[in-house]
Every structure is written in structure tokens, then in C-alpha cells.
Subunit: 366 residues, 2 copies
């Protein structure tokens, strides 16, 4: 087992990573203050792991709330089911909310914990690669609004994160690939040697090699923890974690939540960020192609939806949270392994990026 | 004009109190970081003051969202109208949300500011006595749930609070009295000389004497700011501000939100707390009666609803946020001008308090 510490002063918390941690209650009990625990899960994950986790927490008064699965349900109506469950069971402000599932469950359970009685304790037990390397670290919680993704939420830190790597054995391959999009992102934005490691191990990761997975998760969490430590509330460097996300969110919003997986949209968005960085002269065509090839080998889409026009992208990106006083800031690569956040670029280059022939780029790498 | 400072480190903020402050934009502009402002008001207050405030803020890009009036609308559906307005107008994370109205508007606009894009700036412009002396100080925001009042919310501090005392000229007398319930509360819990001052000035306050109102608001805000400074997140002494509220919330929940005004329910709840403190031998019958008489002179109800049984009270109080691990903590008076929070009392005394003859007590004072 490896343990990382996310250092945020009095809101610091540990991330435990290893095999079979679901069966080790001693890892969680130090972080549960009261006697009540509410496990929030979904219809897919609950049948696989809810009973095991409940057994580990049998020293407490445990309730569970099982939500419908998927990004399409990341809305207020589903969030209400959590509040209904907590209030019906009379959970008080010393309850601990435990998120058992992927990023959607983590975002909703975390936001529910942030709001319930103005804030109760929260523990993350992420069961997808994406949530293990991304959404369980950093304190972002929230729900979607019909007019934009993650528009309603809170910065709220968990007491602890427990990552049992064996939960990936039941993850559909498409979701494993979606998680790899975020793993590859860390290499692109801040860790060029990790990119090389990933090129060597991407096949092992897709084959669920536990040693490779543990290393990839640990390295990704460490990279994210480092960035979050430096900038908890996303005023500066933290925004680089959103490489590919502004383009990606536009894809998700336009296609309807849940049609493209988040990681898939990020992958196509990352290709657009690579293309724009190349057009700005910051990385070479060979470097751009290196990124595209690695995303392809991870089983990810590298071509934005054919039906999306430049106008579609611009419309959706205009409500992005990175818009400050009307100017759209983008995360781009100054070089491989170094991202920057900037609104200082010619509009024509953004337009050319939105209109580029990604089908041709993808085939060149095929 | 008087200015108090609520001292919370980097989240400190000023409270300006005085006549005609709505027309003084210089008091607000130092606290508006971006170019966008969203004024949240309701159907009652907007016709009276929205245009004046908008004119004061004409240097900014201002939108307004006018909500239906009343506690009955303090729910998610109404909150969504704020998010809809912000997103439709493409307000970004540098927007400032301004609450123009009473406590319900402050609670909802504040919670919307806490959640919108995970947190934007917030300014309070309270227009009722209750919100001026209570809900605009202390950072509590939130909405109701069918199973409990204020069950979903956030601790979120404003950038500034602007109190224009002339807005009370348009306040219905019943709401002025409701505000006086909280004013009297400060005397009871921490400022016995203020009780004496109130006994001398309660008629002037009800007659809207501006000098008396300014003094009462200022003294109330100072008392609350002092308590909040000492205990921002309500782990200890801050809970004394809830004198009468646990009983009062039970009344509000049972009768349906909006049937009793919050201050009215708090007044009847305060009488119950006085009665219980007397039964515990902490205050004399004369002191209890002194409190009841002052509440009556302020135009407030001092008898709980006749149809509420002991069981009704106990059921509603069981979901109160002051329940810790199954024990109900109550705010009681150790002596006049000193409140304590305790779960150390004989159950029989609580039961006797719930079953006391408040009609007789009220008539004795009549």
C-alpha cells in the first residue's frame, strides 16, 4: 500500500492506494468522527462492492443510498435522493458521507456532504480509474445544469481517500481507457518522463497489470496533489489540470451528458489543445503526433464529433468557468510536459484549430 | 453612518449601517471585483428598491432575478431561477451576487453565490429588520427541505453588508415585530443592559424612530459579530444565538413554512426556553415573566400553536442540527443576559416545558 498526503493545512488528507483496501476498516475508522455513516453508490457499483464496504464499517450505524448510474443523472433531482436518505434516517451533522463509485458519485456525494446541514464529513472510495486519478483528489464537487457542466458545486475536501486497485478488475474497458486520458494528461502538462513511462506501459495498463496500475495511479495522484497543494482554489496553476477540458466540455454539452464519456471528450479535447499548441509554434508536429498516438494506443477517440461546427464549440465554450470578463482562457502546451493557461492568442488560431482536419491527423498516426 | 467589522481573518467584511445608504455606490464598489453584478430580489422588495440599487451600480453590467416572496419558496426550485439567470446572462466566476431583500433572499442568494461555479462574490443588502440584525451577519446560507428547515446550505461570508435603515419604512408592522424577536434575543443571551434599553425603547422602535432603530440594529449586529468572531462554524458559543430556535423551528416545520413568520416562531420558542430555564431553577418566575412581557410589548406571539402536542415537538426537534449522536442540545438561560447550550437536563423537565400552560402565562402578563 502507498499513502500520499494532500497538504492543505487543517484540511489535509491522506490517499491510500493498494490492493484489497476495501476490506481494511482500520484505514477508515481514524477519519470517522461520529457514529453514523452514509454510503452513496450507484446501481452498477453497489452490487459489486457495497456489501464489502458495509461489512468493513459494521462498527457504525450505516445507511446506503443507491443512485441511478451515469453523468445524465448528475443533477439536482438525484442529489435530492441523498438528502432524502440522510434526513429520513435522521443523520445529524456528525455523520460521515462515503462516496463509493466513480467521478459522478464522488462529485454528487461530495457536494451533498458540503451542503448537508452546511457541511458534514466526507470520504472518497473511488472505483473507476478516472475518479482514482482525478476527481477524488482536489476537492471539486458539484452537479450539472442544463446550461453547463459542473456549474453548481463547492470546493470541499474529503477526510480521506481510499483507492482499492482491484476494483478496476470489474471496470468496462471503455471506462479504463477514459481514465487513461487523465493519466496521460499528467504527463503532458507536468511530467515528460511519465509520458515515456506510459508509452512503455500503456499495453500493460489496458491489460490490468496491477503493478503498472498502482504506479500509474500513484504517480497521477502525486502530480495532482502537487498542483492542488500549490493552488487549492484554482486561481492559477491548478487550471492547467484542465488541459483538453474546455474543448471536451463543449463536446459533452453538445452531445448530451453521458453520450461521450468524460475521458473520451477530454481525449478529443486534448488533441485539439495539442493542435492549437502546434499552430502557435510551441510544440512541433512530431510532438503533437506523439500525444495523439499515445491517446490512440490507450483506446481513446482523437477526433471531435463530425457534426460539431466551429460555432457550436464557441457557443459552449463561452459559458466555461475559465471565461474571465469575457475572455476565454485556454490550457495549452508551452512544450511537452509543461502546460500554460492563457487568453493571449490570435483568435484566428483558435478558429483554425476548431476547423482543423482531425480525421486526417488521426489516420496519419493509425 | 456606523461601520462594524466582522473579523474572520482573510474572510473579514464590513457592515455599514445608516440612512439612505442605497444611494451611495462608493460603499459597494470597493467590494466588487469584476464587471458583472446580479441583484437577487423578490416580488415585494424589487418594486420598492431594485431601480435605486441598480442605478447606484450602473458602472457595472447588472442583471436582476426577481423571485417569488416568502419562506415557502426557499427551496431548490426557486434557487434554480438564480442559476438560470446567471447562466443565461453568461455570468462568469468573477460575478458578484447582491441580495436585496429579507432573510429568505439573503439565504438563497448567499447559497447560490456559494455554489455558482463553486463560489462567487456576494454582498448583502438586507431590507427587513430580521435580516439586518440576524441573517446578514454570520455567513449562514441555505434552503429548506420538506423534512427540515435550512437542511441544505453552506457557511459563506459576504464581501460586505449594506444596511439602509430607511428601508424599514416600507416594512409591514408584523415583520418589524418579527425582527424585534431577534433583537430581544441578544439582550437575553448576552447583554442584560440592552434588555433594559429595549424596555425603554420598544415603543419607539415600533413607531419606526430612526435613531432608536439605528442603535438597536448596530447593537444587535455588534453582539452577533462578537459571537461569530469567536466561533465561526458553530461548534460552541455561536449556538447560543439559537435561543428559542429549536422550539421555533419545530413550530415552523409543523405549521408549514411561511404560516408563522420566523421571528414569531422564535418568540414563542423563546418563551418555551424561558419557561424551561425557570423550571430548571436557573431564572426566577419574575425574570421569565420579564422576558415574556417584553416580547408581548414588541407585538409578538408568546403562546405556541394550540394544536401542537408534545409528540409533535419531539418529532420535529429530533432532526434539528443541534442533535449530536442522538442527544438534543438546547439553548437555555443560565441567568438573564447569559445563555448556555446543554444536553444535560432531566427529560421530565423538557416534557413539562412542552406541556406547560402558555396561555395562562401570557394572560398573567397581559
Amino acid at each position: 500500500m502507498q499513502t500520499l498526503k494532500v497538504d492543505l493545512g487543517e484540511r489535509s488528507y491522506p490517499i491510500h492506494i493498494g490492493e484489497g483496501l476495501l476490506d481494511q476498516p482500520d484505514l477508515l475508522t481514524p477519519y470517522i468522527a461520529g457514529r453514523q455513516v452514509a454510503i452513496i453508490s450507484n446501481e452498477t457499483v453497489a452490487p459489486l462492492y457495497l456489501e464489502r464496504l458495509s461489512r468493513s464499517l459494521s462498527a457504525y450505524s450505516v445507511i446506503s443510498v443507491v443512485l441511478p448510474d451515469g453523468e445524465a443523472h448528475k443533477n439536482w433531482e438525484t442529489l435530492q435522493l441523498i438528502f432524502d436518505g440522510l434526513l429520513s434516517a435522521r443523520h445529524d451533522r456528525r455523520t460521515t458521507v462515503v462516496a463509493l463509485g466513480g467521478g459522478v458519485i464522488g462529485d454528487m456525494a461530495g457536494f451533498a456532504a458540503a451542503c448537508y446541514q452546511r457541511g458534514v464529513d466526507f470520504i472518497q472510495v473511488p472505483t473507476t480509474l478516472l475518479s482514482q486519478v482525478d476527481s477524488s483528489v482536489g476537492g471539486k464537487t458539484g452537479i450539472n445544469h442544463p446550461l453547463g457542466k459542473n456549474m453548481v458545486g463547492a470546493f470541499y475536501q474529503p477526510q480521506a481517500v481510499l483507492i482499492d486497485t482491484t476494483t478496476l478488475n470489474t471496470l468496462p474497458p471503455r471506462e479504463l481507457s477514459a481514465g487513461l486520458a487523465e493519466v496521460i494528461k499528467y504527463g503532458l502538462i507536468c511530467d515528460e518522463p511519465f509520458l515515456t513511462w506510459l508509452e512503455e506501459h500503456v499495453d500493460a495498463l489496458r491489460a490490468l497489470d496491477q503493478v503498472a496500475l498502482t504506479e500509474a495511479i500513484s504517480r497521477s495522484c502525486a502530480a495532482k496533489a502537487l498542483v492542488v497543494n500549490a493552488d487549492e482554489r484554482e486561481s492559477g496553476v491548478r487550471a492547467t489540470l484542465n488541459l483538453g477540458h474546455t474543448f471536451g466540455h463543449a463536446i459533452e454539452t453538445h452531445m448530451g451528458y453521458g453520450v461521450w464519456l468524460h475521458g473520451e471528450a477530454v481525449a478529443a479535447g486534448t488533441v485539439m489543445a495539442l493542435e492549437m499548441s502546434q499552430r502557435l509554434g510551441w510544440i512541433s508536429a512530431q510532438e503533437r503526433d506523439r500525444g495523439i498516438r499515445l491517446l490512440q494506443r490507450a483506446g481513446l477517440p482523437v477526433i471531435p464529433p463530425a457534426q460539431m461546427t466551429e460555432a457550436d464549440f464557441l457557443e459552449h465554450m463561452a459559458v466555461d468557468k475559465k471565461v474571465i470578463d469575457g475572455r476565454l482562457r485556454l490550457v495549452l502546451l508551452r512544450r511537452m510536459g509543461e502546460a500554460v493557461v492563457t487568453d493571449d492568442y490570435p483568435k484566428e488560431i483558435l478558429q483554425a484549430t476548431l476547423g482543423a482536419d482531425y480525421r486526417a491527423l488521426a489516420q496519419l498516426k493509425g
